[in-house]
Symmetry: C2
Subunit: 414 residues, 2 copies
């Protein structure tokens, strides 16, 4: 239906091949390119290796209409992008006096003389458009090579991103023609992946455009839509048509319509209602408080949190009756409810939210295996609770428990 | 000095080219390969694209002695790795009756009949060694092609990793010959990056082997050593020679010698000494408690935490005198000390640890700008405190504050 322009991204630098480093520039670039309907078909990560880089560039230029390189534009011997790109394209590398003057100027503005090696950064590929770099010394380049756009960008994100936004995006958009791509993501809580799919597959499978993808991320289901159109409006209208049906179908299970996190959604609802909250946690060990207070401005509604690991702490800090702990155990509905009520009373807040459970790896029993978690929410009218059986390792169980507790509060605030 | 075997890794699957997905298999594989002295020279990420994948495989096989692919071994039309690798190598793809029987068996063991499409996964490249996959249906393959090893692995890490460890590592180690590479990482807290480098550069710059790299990660300095030798012992001895000097030079600033996290180091020291701890936090909002309780078994030493955002909570929960809050403000040394003492008294623990500060983005003043943080530690003898000026955004300031507090406790436990 729509012809898309194809792109390849080449990340250059031996440090990107270490076991603890990954190329993240290409993710940001992919998002920018997709927005203009340009599809990334291949990514290469190559070290400071003349032969491999030359081959990577030659292959990419032959196959794709857009080729973007990041990195390797520094002033040292290891920075081979300029030299090897010129060689791969069969073009000369020429000293650009104006660029050299600008680099010299940049050093002078910091009160130092330009080191000789930086003159290397003023070498420009024949017929390339020079892309200014106000955030560093390495200029970028834009080359039209038999209809393929080759773009050389610096590696540091704070230099690369503004250069792309100010000098590359428009040029590529012109080539991409009128195709526009828009994306949207809905986040769902409190339903399993297959339950979500069962509900919405009959709807989204009727559409080739938008494309719908369902991802499972910790305990959130993400529904991603990608719509194409000849204008941004057309793409958005196409997206709205499907999204509206999905939203109707899933109702309150959708908590986020524009990428907001659960704690931001809850925080906003608390703020708008002028409500306050306090929390009491056991197995999540502070994660619930930490997520709530990660939101800037949370001091308006978050009053107090306690992490009561030991039973004595539950009694002393929250007033949980020892008899409850004895009869039902610390991981039980009565204790979760007493914790929620206890912290609400003590902190004098509108809501008290609690979690008690077994995050593992130890501590599970046949009756209460690892992953057994009780959450409770108290307000001035009632105390409700949920019993959960959460899969995953310690960290995941803790995260999912905090998510379920926040979701319980979110639904109360609807 | 040492001849290294070169490798390339090809990650296959269109989903890996989305703006929010990254290939992480190659990081794990790089670490494994490096251990045997095999160097990764190039990585490719390619979608379900016949022509591009065929070219990527052909290029890699021509250039490198080891080629590893991950993904694309599933049962659907989109899973093209088998077909395209066979084509790139000019080999036939043959149905392996034994593999087919095993896949059928696997389905039967779950009580279901094998769907017809899964028979595709029993297609094996001519003369390939089949690598069993106890964790999934897709077997891997190991092919020797004119002296280059081509390894096809499944995409899911829980299938890929055991397959590599059990069936690939030894085969590649044999080809790698006698070169062995060992790595070690030291983590440093409480010193800046340039201060560390100033102290240790005069030592490590004397060595070409090991290679030393210094990385800055949140608020930790990581010192990475990579040593090569003809045997593992030789490589380790080489590494020890340098590491010992660095350790002497930096002393107590090194908190981790084998990748342990700060909270694990502190937890181990608390456990070994039979000590207990409680914490009181303001700006970190539960992060300190959460980090301490992230360690399995932390219920032995972690008794209680409070997150006192509001001033009233500091007074009510910790007994901080209102006059202190009024005279010095919530972010001050006297309040930090009162918080540490208050939680220690209330929870009856050996140590009380506290944090109060301004994480931003709002709340800063000229006198106490964003990033101003006080931490305090109380035991039965004294209460000590530190004033910190932490750079970064809200999240980073919170993390750094928690790190500094944990480090204060660690040093007390030395």
């Amino acid at each position: 239906m729509f012809e898309t322009l194809t792109a390849e991204i080449i990340a250059i630098g031996s440090e990107l091949l270490a076991p603890d480093r990954t190329d993240t520039n290409s993710l940001w670039l992919t998002e920018q390119l997709n927005r203009h309907g340009i599809e990334v078909k291949l990514k290469t990560i190559v070290g400071d290796d003349d032969a491999r880089l030359e081959e990577a560039i030659k292959d990419a230029v032959r196959r794709s209409k857009v080729v973007i390189t990041t990195g390797g534009l520094g002033p040292t011997e290891d920075d081979i992008t300029r030299k090897i790109t010129a060689r791969a394209l069969g073009r000369r590398l020429l000293l650009d006096e104006q660029v050299l003057a600008e680099i010299r100027q940049r050093f002078q503005s910091f009160g130092v003389t330009m080191p000789e090696r930086n003159s290397r950064q003023a070498m420009v590929i024949e017929d390339a458009v020079v892309l200014p770099n106000p955030n560093g010394t390495a200029p970028g380049m834009f080359i039209d090579h038999n209809g393929t756009a080759i773009v050389l960008l610096p590696g540091p994100p704070r230099e690369m991103r503004p250069m792309f936004e100010n000098h590359v995006a428009e040029r590529l958009a012109g080539r991409a023609g009128s195709l526009r791509v828009v994306r949207r993501m809905l986040r769902v809580a409190g339903m399993g992946e297959s339950a979500v799919d069962e509900k919405i597959a009959p709807i989204y499978t009727q559409y080739d455009n938008p494309v719908t993808t369902i991802l499972f991320n910790q305990s959130e289901i993400e529904i991603h839509f990608t719509a194409r159109g000849r204008t941004e409006k057309e793409a958005n209208d196409t997206l709205d048509r499907l999204s509206t049906q999905i939203e109707e179908r899933l109702g309150n299970a959708i908590f986020s319509f524009a990428g907001e996190k659960m704690e931001e959604v809850v925080g906003l609802k608390l703020s708008l209602g002028g409500y306050t909250v306090s929390v009491a946690e056991s197995c999540t060990g502070g994660l619930l408080a930490q997520r709530l207070t990660e939101v800037p401005g949370s001091s308006k509604y978050f009053i107090e949190g306690v992490v009561t690991y030991a039973n004595e702490a539950k009694t002393r800090a929250l007033g949980v009756e020892p008899i409850l702990l004895l009869e039902h155990g610390a991981v039980s509905a009565p204790v979760a409810k007493a914790m929620a009520e206890g912290i609400r009373n003590r902190a004098g807040t509108d809501f008290g939210l609690s979690i008690t459970g077994i995050a593992g790896p130890g501590g599970g029993t046949e009756e209460k295996p690892v992953g057994t978690v009780f959450i409770a929410l108290a307000d001035d009218v009632k105390i409700e609770h949920r019993k959960l059986h959460l899969p995953g390792d310690r960290q995941l169980i803790r995260w999912r428990a905090s998510q379920a507790a926040l979701d319980l509060l979110r639904r109360r605030l609807l």
